[in-house]
Symmetry: C2
Subunit: 428 residues, 2 copies
């Protein structure tokens, strides 16, 4: 890690810069895939699965027998872990259930706000070397609690045409029974447009590589909603002499092992603590199976020493990290000063991995500075709100003139007339 | 209006189809404008304002003196109307203020959800023949209640370089003091990238023509969030013999006068009522100043007669209108069966114009079927939520093994190690 001491304010933008993607190039790769799936449906999916995942499939949908077989294969310890995680995630998301709202804004004018589940949602779970079973829970549980009527899950199969048993077990815990062996941009296309086998949905969720991300952004222009734009995962650890250097080093490595483009930033207000953390980092790195990935990620990472906590707070707000770990004295008072984060981890015992898997919070969080405008994934991401209003004759009298006057000023005379007729009917 | 009797289920998709826009063509027009403003800032804005709005400006920002002058020019009746609307809109949106959430998901694991205002928001208010003062209130009031620190308003000037006084008065009611004379795609670019004069924001709100919409979608790919995709305004009136035909006709015309591409659908379960509505429509159309626009919109509109209320409900759900007026017996019981609408107006006295201006609900609503995945604009559109968590040693013991096991299954060993170290520190 590059170590910087009290970097000047004008250098902060450079320090917090995220990798840039060439969206135009990504779109040009992805657009033909979307178009092909839209036009040719399942046939295109079979072709892409053979090309990209080396899987010669005869069917796309996972059968109940396959799920049953998978459930039997998952080790009891992993089943138990997934159940613990499921219970905590469900408990936190269940508490987010919104209330209907009824307000009489003035006599006879009743305004309401109600929330309902989005009917059909699609969950994308990436493949690759490791099965992202936690992602299944993080997307599947709020979909289930929201009451989405159709929950579709797409995930790429391996070369044998199989899906990791733990993925299927996690899906079954969330009551998901529409699971398809499709990955990449073609999976996003399938859920956006629908094919003979894969149902079209109204909103698509889930992480993925640059191509999946680009596909989500393209279908969001005209077809379906998406959860949020995405980029490489990020962590900032903000610490002082009260932290445990070994814990901090482990948290930094948790982020670094995700990928070579992972963003890792250490902010520290104590020089000897910083040195201890860097030493612990070297020690722990040696034994890490994903050592090469983590090393590359750390080469682009910064350790920043600030003289004051205030500077650290200001820097953190200027960065806006996905994950923010506060192992610093007075973290309870400091946390509200740094709301520009996807999820904040307080004290020495809240490892990022706690929230990644099992504490109950959602691990689907905005990256790349999108924390300034996007919410972290929550129950409300799977719901939509709408309004209802009812005016009585008294209500018409209360606001009728205001409506007429404003409609008049906007030169929308039919709008005015609709109110005039009602006012007239009451003055007869 | 074309009258249809009990159209077959397979014809519904055709009946509810929205006009298609050629996004690729729109993007190719808008992209160079965005690029130019991004590169050349204010200079580009001055050039575009001269080209598109015929305004030779020397400054872009509206001065306090201009606002003061404008406030003096607005008629007292309009001021009073705007104050009534402001009070009701504020009252309904104030009631939407979210609560923080604290859940102990298991002993020693505390998960929280907090909500804060988006720091910098941009509001776009279209120009044209009529000043959209209601839009200023609908966007400015929730921004103010949310507590957004910077609220930027862009609206095109007229050829004299002036902004309608009522717009400036409405803005001052919402405490907006950063107002810029910029319209169209160039305004969206200015708020997305920032210029010497116009501050960059984190989220852009507001209606506009196809070019504004395309510009919003393009900047949303990489730069800022936007409120929602948009299309021409829509209304469905669902009525039976209990409605007042003159009111229904007036409501249909309110929508039709918006533009030639406005979507107007009438669903009725009573043949003679339908005939009365169509007669009233003809009568009212004669005296409408925007008659030509309304007539063209009505040519593309449908009046549909269904034998049963059930068919009407099913059809309404298949359409998913922006505005849904229920002038039908038992509307209170029926409304929850048709949640796929942006805003629902109940009974004979709730004209769409009531909600457009002054009842308190927001008039910024999803169109084009986006009601299936997007919420109607609300206070939460101007806020973002994030999570916080704190584990005690007891919490680490409670979920530590689950975290280790899941991280192991995902082959993320640094994630596992971060928890193992904490567990080990407690067993010493």
């Amino acid at each position: 890690m590059e170590v910087l001491r009290n970097p000047k304010r004008e250098d902060w933008t450079g320090l917090t810069q995220r990798p840039l993607f060439d969206l135009t190039q990504l779109f040009s790769v992805v657009q033909p895939i979307l178009e092909n799936v839209k036009q040719r449906g399942d046939v295109a999916l079979f072709e892409y699965e053979e090309k990209f995942d080396k899987a010669q499939l005869t069917t796309l949908e996972v059968t109940p027998a396959e799920v049953e077989e998978a459930v039997a294969l998952v080790e009891p310890a992993l089943k138990e872990a997934l159940q613990v995680a499921h219970r905590n995630i469900a408990s936190f998301h269940e508490a987010q259930r919104p209330q209907s709202l009824v307000v009489e804004t003035c006599p006879g004018v009743r305004c309401e706000q109600h929330t309902v589940a989005i009917e059909k949602v699609g969950l994308y779970v990436p493949g690759g070397t490791a099965p992202l079973l936690s992602t299944v829970l993080m997307l599947g549980i709020p979909a289930q609690i929201a009451g989405c009527r159709t929950v579709v899950l797409c995930t790429p199969p391996n070369a044998e045409g199989k899906i990791n048993p733990a993925i299927l077990y996690a899906a079954s815990l969330c009551g998901i029974d529409k699971i398809y062996k499709v990955g990449g941009a073609q999976a996003i296309a399938a859920m956006a447009y629908g094919t003979e086998t894969v149902p079209a949905v109204h909103k698509i969720f889930g992480p993925g590589n640059q191509y999946v991300m680009a596909a989500k952004q393209l279908v969001a222009l005209s077809q379906v909603a998406i959860d949020m734009p995405a980029g490489p995962s990020e962590v900032e650890v903000f610490c002082d002499a009260t932290c445990v250097p070994q814990f901090v080093a482990a948290d930094l490595l948790s982020q670094a092992e995700h990928g070579v483009d992972s963003q890792v930033i250490l902010v520290c207000t104590n020089e000897s603590t910083l040195t201890e953390i860097l030493e612990a980092l070297e020690e722990q790195l040696v034994n890490l199976p994903r050592k090469e990935i983590a090393e590359k990620a750390l080469q682009n990472s910064k350790a920043i020493l600030f003289d004051t906590v205030e500077q650290g707070v200001e820097f953190t707000n200027s960065y806006g990290p996905e994950h923010l770990i506060l192992s610093v004295e007075g973290y309870r008072d400091l946390a509200p000063l740094m709301p520009h984060a996807g999820s904040i981890f307080l004290g020495n015992y809240s490892s990022e991995s706690a929230g990644d898997y099992a504490s109950g919070t959602n691990h689907t969080l905005p990256t790349k500075g999108w924390v300034r405008s996007y919410s972290s994934l929550s129950l409300s991401s799977f719901m939509r709100s709408y309004t209802v209003q009812e005016l009585t004759p008294e209500g018409v009298v209360a606001i009728g003139t205001a409506v007429e006057t404003m409609a008049d000023a906007e030169q929308l005379f039919a709008h005015k007339h609709a109110m005039t007729l009602r006012l007239q009917s009451l003055s007869k």
